[in-house]
């Protein structure tokens, strides 16, 4: 790992692809966390890494279809999740338990996702090189 990092530095960051995971655990609009993670993800797209996006706990609310934010005077950023495909960010994961306890179903979501069990999500998380969470 250390050697790899040194090579990475010597080559100016080229060549090494790490598994990145961004963990979304907050609802949109009530706090700025959801939007901030999304911006971080968009920046990361420039670095050609193996990006995984996880939506768990209240993070699943970020993907709810049909947001209309004019009434609260905030920008609706949910359409940006649909643009991620254009940045080759296509690994999106949601866990079934988080959907269930919120009365949501996969059909409520604005983008195609892989629905995992909480146990499968734990396993996936365990395979990552870098994890960033909010």
């Amino acid at each position: 790992m250390m050697d790899e990092d040194r090579t990475d530095e010597a080559e100016g960051g080229s060549g090494i692809v790490k598994k990145f995971m961004y963990v979304n655990r907050k609802a949109p609009y009530g706090t700025v966390y959801a939007l901030e993670v999304l911006e971080m993800v968009l920046i990361s797209a420039a670095f050609d890494q193996d990006v995984h996006l996880v939506f768990t706990d209240d993070g699943v609310f970020e993907l709810k279809k049909g947001m209309e934010t004019a009434g609260i005077g905030m920008k609706n950023f949910s359409n940006t999740y649909r643009a991620l495909e254009g940045y080759d960010i296509e690994k999106l994961y949601v866990d079934q338990e988080s959907l269930d306890e919120r009365g949501l179903a996969e059909a409520d979501l604005i983008v195609p996702v892989t629905v995992l069990s909480r146990a499968e999500m734990a396993k996936l998380m365990g395979e990552m090189d870098v994890i960033l969470s909010a």
Partner: protein, 102 residues
């Protein structure tokens, strides 16, 4: 006269709604707004507790916050009234005091 209780945080993340339900009296009004609106989701973890509270307390949800989060009134448990900002002000004005659970 009775109190208006307001809850603005997600019940899945904070215990604001739970404390509100414990510490509000029958006859009180409870308004859910911002991330607090998630508490009223039909089929959600808090649906049953809130439905029970609705028997003795007046429950309200702020419409613009619901709409922003992609939730229609059809996604809420029965017995919840959707109000707009004007309705929020009217509720605050007609109650003896406001207790904000934030």
């Amino acid at each position: 006269m009775s109190l208006l209780h307001t809850v603005a945080k997600s019940p899945f993340e904070r215990d604001a709604l739970s404390s509100c339900l414990d510490l509000s009296l029958p006859g009180a009004a409870i308004l859910l707004y911002e991330d607090g609106v998630y508490g009223a989701l039909k089929g959600g973890r808090f649906a049953e507790r809130l439905a029970e509270a609705a028997k003795t307390r007046a429950l309200y949800v702020l419409g613009p916050d619901l709409k922003a989060r992609g939730l229609g009134e059809d996604r809420l448990i029965a017995g919840v009234t959707v109000v707009d900002y004007r309705g929020f002000v009217e509720l605050a004005a007609k109650h003896q005091a406001v207790q904000a659970w934030c």
